[in-house]
């Protein structure tokens, strides 16, 4: 970015676009789930039910904003803001197009990993501050889940970083001019997708909120717009992970004929739909099953992936 003004305009545009997308996703998810369950989903408010999000927003904004008397008030209020803040900050480093994007950073991948780790504090603190057994169990699960997925998430990303030779997302996209990284790094893609689903606490890895066994998990005590923040944070997280998958494995904005931004949005949209398809398909595994899967299967696989990628990169450079 050349000037402060340009950066401000760009960040305002990204903020507006991303928040609108998150609101729209509330409707998109319900429509797609409906489609895959052979029903309609919300189709009454506005064309195709598109204004359902507006109706939902009016409802959630006007709802009583209640803090339970037994909760730790300051932390209880702070917790939902963390997830939204960190995910929005992560969007700063996403390159939407060759000249679009809020900030270029030579440690963008590390920044993304740092922010996604911080986002988990939201759930952990929310579960703790609610002072409720179900919430605490949800927070506990979130913490244990965080420890397992963050490790292999970072290690799987290192394969991409090795191939591109940079932490800079713009250079990672440029490095995919000849071929998308999903082909050499298909294991990395699958691993990152699993970690991404766990990261956003989406079904099938929504153990921290598991309605079936934990009422609502970490957000049991939350209502009104505080609950809405968790909700928006989840949808923002889906958008973020989808755009990161696009950038890291599917060539970012690159593609023939269409303008770069359109390619980026198309690819991201496909992965958002994949997130919803995963939710529509899979039942939730047991909590310990996910942990042992993460530590005993995905972590060794990530290490092997890293080792082989490193060996190949070294071999090619040596030759």
């Amino acid at each position: 970015m050349n000037s402060w003004g340009q950066a401000l305009v760009m960040s305002a545009a990204v903020l507006g676009a991303v928040l609108t997308l998150a609101a729209l996703l509330i409707w998109v998810e319900r429509r797609l789930l409906g489609l895959w369950q052979e029903r309609f989903g919300p189709n009454r408010v506005g064309p195709f039910g598109m204004f359902q999000s507006v109706a939902d927003m009016i409802k959630i904004f006007t709802k009583e904003d209640w803090v339970p008397p037994f909760a730790d008030k300051r932390v209880f209020i702070l917790a939902p803001t963390i997830v939204v803040t960190t995910v929005l900050l992560s969007f700063a480093i996403v390159p939407f197009g060759p000249s679009a994007g809020v900030a270029d950073s030579n440690i963008a991948v590390l920044f993304f990993l740092a922010m996604s780790s911080l986002a988990a504090y939201s759930v952990v603190l929310g579960g703790w501050a609610s002072n409720n057994k179900y919430s605490l169990l949800g927070g506990l699960r979130a913490a244990a889940q965080l420890l397992s997925y963050e490790v292999f998430m970072g290690l799987f990303l290192m394969g991409v970083v090795l191939l591109a030779g940079s932490f800079d997302l713009r250079r990672i996209v440029e490095a995919q001019r000849e071929g998308w990284f999903v082909i050499p790094q298909w294991l990395g893609f699958v691993g990152f997708l699993i970690a991404g689903v766990a990261e956003t606490h989406r079904a099938p890895f929504d153990m921290p909120e598991a309605e079936a066994e934990l009422v609502g998990g970490y957000h049991t005590e939350y209502s009104g717009m505080k609950f809405g923040m968790f909700f928006v944070g989840e949808y923002l997280g889906i958008a973020l992970i989808s755009s990161m998958i696009t950038v890291l494995f599917f060539g970012g904005w690159q593609g023939p004929w269409l303008p770069p931004l359109v390619w980026f949005c198309l690819k991201t949209g496909v992965f958002i739909a994949l997130f919803i398809l995963l939710r529509a398909t899979f039942p939730r595994p047991r909590f310990d099953q996910f942990l042992s899967f993460g530590w005993k299967v995905l972590l060794p696989l990530a290490l092997v992936n890293l080792l082989i990628t490193g060996a190949i990169v070294l071999g090619v450079q040596g030759a």
Partner: protein, 193 residues
């Protein structure tokens, strides 16, 4: 990573992993195929569902083909009702009316469970359940239907049935022995030895 293929147990484990991955992908495909199916939802207020003729819905009181009330106020429906939502009062006024009839008849539809036992108990096909379920009300009191709300002008499901034309009861214009398939009354004294 274990040495693949070194022992039969490990190869079995690996094939189990592959079949598991296959099962996951198959699951995704099964759900994705639903994209091209039509929803089975009936969009109710605009699109009316088909109700079978024997649907148990709103309860009505029907009339004979000659236009008289079928109900003879026998109380069998009220006795059969498991939730006691039917109340009525029998009356007779021989100078105006040649038969027994309910002075008032009341069904509390906020209690009714639409079981149809009243219809089964009715000896004259007077009380009938019809295919109509749209009985939503804003005030609970409006769910209580009086006789004028229940009585319809038609015969309902049995258009030709006329209780007094097949029953051996004397009414105005029809004496004993004049009903359909009815023998003339026997003078019991003539049977004496």
């Amino acid at each position: 990573m274990p040495d693949i293929g070194s022992s039969p147990r490990q190869t079995a484990g690996l094939s189990a992993v592959w079949s598991l991955i296959g099962a996951f992908l198959q699951g995704l495909w099964v759900v994705l195929k639903r994209t091209f199916r039509r929803p089975i939802t009936v969009q109710y207020p605009e699109e009316q569902p088909y109700l079978p003729p024997r649907w148990r819905g709103r309860i009505v009181l029907t009339r004979d083909p000659d236009g008289e009330e079928r109900c003879v106020a026998c109380y069998l429906c009220a006795a059969a009702c498991p939730v006691d939502c039917i109340a009525l009062q029998a009356t007779e006024s021989p100078d105006q009316h040649d038969r027994r009839y309910p002075a008032w008849f009341r069904i509390n539809f906020s209690r009714c469970i639409y079981c149809g036992h009243c219809e089964e108990a009715c000896p004259t096909y007077a009380i009938q359940l019809i295919p109509d379920f749209e009985q939503g009300e804003y005030v609970r009191r409006n769910m209580v239907y009086e006789k004028q709300d229940l009585l319809i002008s038609g015969t309902g499901k049995y258009p030709d049935y006329n209780f007094y034309r097949v029953a051996g009861v004397r009414i105005g214009g029809k004496d004993k022995g004049e009903a359909e398939n009815e023998q003339p009354p026997v003078d019991v004294r003539s049977l004496l030895p």
